[in-house]
C-alpha cells in the first residue's frame, strides 16, 4: 500500500516535471534552417506574440500617440510626404514616394511607401488605384482621370478589384457622378492652400460611397482627399504634408 502510494506520488512528480517541461518549451521551442517551421511551432510563436501584445496593453504602453506636427519640423524634410489614416482602424502613417511612372492608361502613377515598405498606396493623378500590405487590399482599379489634371476628371464607372479574404478577387463596379463644390481654402499644418473641392458620389454593390478631393490644378497636386478603398478597408484620409 505504502509502496503503491509512493509510486503514484512519483508518477505525479514526474507528470508535474513533464508539465514544467512543456511550459519551459512554450518559451523555448525553436527552429533553424531553410525548412518551414513545424505548424505547432508557428502557432506557439504567434501565441507568444499576442501574449506580448496583451502584456503591453496591460502596462498601458499600446500604440504610440501621433506626434504633434509643426511646419518647422516638416520644412526640414527634403522629400514629399503623404500622411494616410485608415479611418476604420485609426491607424496612420507617413508615406514616401518610391515610384513615379506612366502606363497606357491616362494619368500619372505614384507609389507611396511606409518607411518599413510594409504598406504601399498607388495613386493615379491623386486618385487611389491600389493598396498593398493592409489585408483585404484594393488590387487594381479603373478610374476616370485625364493627363495633366489632378483628381477625377469626370463621372462614370469606377471599377475596383477587391482581394477577398478567401484569396480570390471580386469586381466591384461603382457608378459615380462628379460634383465641383467650388473653391475652398484648406489648412495643412500651418500652410493654407487654395483648392477646389471635388466630390465623387458613387453607388454600387448595394451601398453608397462619397470620395472628396481638395485639388490644386495649378500646383498639379491633390492636397487632401478622403477616398474609399473597398469594403474591407473603408475610407482612407490622405494629406500631402510636404509637396
Amino acid at each position: 500500500m505504502g509502496e503503491g502510494l509512493g509510486m503514484s506520488r512519483n508518477r505525479l512528480l514526474r507528470q508535474l516535471a513533464g508539465l514544467g517541461a512543456v511550459a519551459l518549451l512554450a518559451l523555448s521551442g525553436c527552429s533553424r534552417g531553410t525548412e518551414e517551421a513545424p505548424m505547432q511551432l508557428q502557432l506557439l510563436n504567434a501565441a507568444r506574440g499576442s501574449a506580448g501584445q496583451i502584456a503591453r496593453k496591460a502596462r498601458g504602453t499600446a500604440a504610440p500617440a501621433r506626434p504633434p506636427l509643426t511646419r518647422a519640423a516638416l520644412d526640414t524634410v527634403p522629400v514629399p510626404v503623404l500622411e494616410v489614416t485608415v479611418e476604420r482602424r485609426g491607424d496612420w502613417a507617413f508615406l514616401f514616394r518610391t515610384l513615379e511612372r506612366t502606363d497606357s492608361s491616362p494619368g500619372r502613377i505614384e507609389q507611396w511607401n511606409t518607411e518599413d515598405s510594409n504598406v504601399t498606396l498607388s495613386l493615379r493623378n491623386g486618385v487611389l488605384i491600389a493598396t498593398r500590405g493592409l489585408g483585404g487590399d484594393l488590387l487594381s482599379s479603373a478610374v476616370q482621370v485625364e493627363d495633366g489634371r489632378p483628381g477625377p476628371a469626370s463621372g462614370g464607372e469606377q471599377l475596383q478589384m477587391i482581394r477577398n479574404l478567401d484569396y480570390r478577387e471580386t469586381a466591384l463596379t461603382l457608378s459615380c457622378e462628379l460634383v465641383d463644390l467650388g473653391p475652398e481654402t484648406i489648412e495643412i499644418v500651418e500652410h493654407r492652400h487654395a483648392t477646389r473641392h471635388l466630390q465623387q458620389r458613387c453607388e454600387g454593390g448595394g451601398g453608397r460611397v462619397v470620395n472628396d478631393y481638395w485639388s490644386d490644378p495649378r500646383a498639379g497636386v491633390i492636397w487632401k482627399s478622403r477616398q474609399w478603398a473597398g469594403p474591407h478597408l473603408g475610407y482612407l484620409s490622405l494629406r500631402r504634408l510636404v509637396k
Binding site: G33, R124, A142, N164, D166, G206, G207, R208, P231
Partner: protein, 752 residues
Amino acid sequence: MSQSIRPCHRSGSGAALLRAAAVAVILTGSVATQGLGQDVGQNLGQGGALPPDIGSEEPSFTPLPAASLNFYGSPGGIDMPSAEMLPDGTFATTLSGFGGQNRITLTFQATPWMSGSFRYHQMQNLNLFGFKTYYDRSFDVRFRLWREGRYRPQVALGLQDFSGTGLFGAEYLVASKNFRTPAWGGLARDGGRLMVSGGIGWGRLGSYNSIGSLGNRPAYSPTTSRGGEPSYDQWFRGPYALFGGLEWRPNDKLGLKLEYSSDDYVTETQTASSFNRRSPFNFGVEYQWKPATRLGAYYLYGSEIGLTAQIQLNPRQPSKRLAVAAPYPVQPREQWAGPPESWDTTWVDSDETLQGLRAQLAKSLERDGLVLETLELGAETAEMRYRNPRYTAQAAALGRAARALAATMPASVETFRLVLVSDGMALSTVILRRSDLEALEFDPRSSAALLAVAGFADAAAKPGPTAMPGPGLYPDFSWSVSQYFSPSYFDPSLPFRLDLGVDLRATYRPAPGWRISGQLRQRVWGNIKDGRLSNSVLAHVRTDATLYAQQGTTLENLYVSRQWRPGRNLYARLSAGYFESMYGGLSGEILWKPVGSRLGLGLEGNYVIKRDYDQRFGFQDYNVLTGHASAYLDLGKGYEAQIDVGRYLAGDVGATFSIDRTFANGWSFGGFFSQTNVSAADFGEGSFDKGLRFRIPLTSLLGKPSRAGMGLMIRPVQRDGGQRVYVPGRLYNQVREAHRNGLEAEWARVWE
C-alpha cells in the same frame, strides 16, 4: 459502437456494389453535376449585393447572419430541421445538450445545395446494450430540392443517421419560407425576419402523432449488424408524422424559436428513462455572441432545459485577415536604363557580374521568404529555380519571385522563366515577359491581364549546365523543437484521449532532391496508452495504437528519400527507412501529371514491415507488399476526386474513393471510403473503412503568411481493413498546387 441493422444476407458482392454506388452518388455524382454550377454569395457587387453594415452606407462583403442550427447541428429550429442551407463552404460545430442527451456535430456545407454532418452522441443513464453511458456516431446528409422564390418556399430533403445504428434514423422533407418583419429590440442590418417551416418525417420524426404509414421499417436489432452501411431498406418507411416550427429573428443578435416536434423519444423515455416527454412543444431563445458563435437556451418537451453553442466557420471569412508586407514595385526599364537600343548585353561574359547578380537576387528573394535554388542567365533570358517555404498561394510566391527578378536583372533580360522547386524536384515553369510585368502592374484588371499573357510549361528535369546554384544551399541542415498534441477519439470508455509532448525534428539535404529526415518524440503526458486493445480478426495493421502508445520516447520517423524528374510530365520518389510510428521499409512512387492537365495518374509500391511497439529500431514479424494505382482528377472550382486501387496493409485488395474541396486560401474538407475484399463481418464495427478530413491553414488563424495548416482526419471507427501506410513526401500534393489549375485558383494574389 454498432451502427446499423443490416441483415447478414445483404452483404453479398451485389449489395456491396450497390452500397458503394449509393455512397459514391452521395459523395461525388451530385458534386460533378450541379455543384460546379453556382457559387452563391460570390457575385458580390454584381447584382447579388448585400446590404451595408449597420451604421454605414458603404458596400459590404460581410455576409448576413447565417441560418441557426438545431440540436442535430443542422439548420433548423430546436430539435426539428428546416429547409435552410448554410453559406456555401461553412464548417459548423454544434454542441447541444438536454435531458442527458449530449451531441457534438460537425457539419460541412459541401456545395450550395448539399451538406453532410458527422455526429457523436452521448446518452447518459441509458443502460442500452450494456453501456451505462451510450455513445453513438452517425452521419446525416441534406439536399436542397429547390430554392426559395417570391411565393415558393425552399424545400429540402434530409437523411439523418443514414448509415448508423438507426437509433437516430429519420428521413424528412421540409419546406421553409421567410417573411420580412419590422426590426425589434436591436440593430438589424436587413430588417427582422420570420421563418415558418413545416415538414413530414419518418423514423424518429414519424414517431409522435403519426398520420399514416408507408410499408415496413425493419426493427432495430444491435446483434445482427456491425453498422456503417447505408440503411436504405429503412428510408422513408414506417409511420410518418408532421412537424413544424417558427423562428423570429427580430434583429441581428436575437432569435426566438417555437416548434412542434414529431419525435416521441421512445427509446430514451420508455426503454430507458432519460427524461419525461410531457409535451410536443419546444421553446428557445438564441443570441449571436460572436460573429461566428451563437448560443441558445431552450425549454424542451415540457420538462427539460437545453443549451446549444453553434460555431460556424466560413472559409471565405477567416477570423484573421492575412496582411503581407507590400512587394517591390516593377520599375520600367526606360526609367533607369534608357531606351532599349542602348541596353547592353556584354555583362553576360563577365563571371563576376553574374555572381553579383546571383547574390543580389538571392538577397532580394530572402526578404520575401523565398529561397533561390539556381539561376541561369542569358543575355535576354533568366531561368530561376526557387523554393517557397512561406506563402500558401504559390501564385503569391511566383509574383514576388518575378518582381525580384525585375528588380535585379540587367535591362536586356526580357524573358523570365520561373521554376518552382519542391525538395529538389522542379514542378512547373511559368514564363513571363518582363515588359508585360512593366505594362500591367497598374492595369485596371492587372491579375487577369497577366494571366492572359503568362505561359505554363513542364520544367526541365535539371537546370542547364551554366546554372549557378543559390549561395550556400547544399548541404543544408534544418532542425526544430516543438510541442505536439496527438488526439485519439471514440473509445467508448473515454471518447477523447490525448498525448502531448515534445518533437525534435531534423532534416539534412546533402544535394538537391535528397532528404534525410527524422523525428524524435518525447511524450510528457498522455492517456492514449490506457485505451482499448484490439479485437480485430484481421492482422492488427492499425488497431494496435494502444500498444504503440506505451513508450514515452519514440522515434516517429527516420528515412532517406530522393525525388526527381525521370522524364517529361513524370515525377518520381524513392524512400527507405522508418516512415511512421507503425511501419518502415521501402517505398517507390511515380506520377504522371502534365502542367495543364486536370488528370494525374500515379503508381506507388511499398514493402513495409510492422515496427516494434517501442518504436525504436526493431521490427515485428509482419511484412506486406502494399501499393496502389491512383487517378487524380481536378473537377474544377476546388473539387478534386481521387481513386486508388490496390493492395492494403492487411493484404486486402480493393479501392479507395475520395473527394476533397479546397478553397483558394487553403481551407479544405473531404471524405473517403474504401471497399476491399474483407467482409463486413471480418472488418468488424463500421463494416468498411471511411472517414472525413479537413485542414485549416494557419494564415487564417494568424493573419501572417504560412504554408502550415492544422489537419484532422476523423474515422468513426479505426479498424484494420482498407488501411494504407503513411509515407512522407507523397508526390501529388507537392505537384498539384504548382500546376496550371492550382496556380490559377489563387492567381488574384500574383501582384500582391
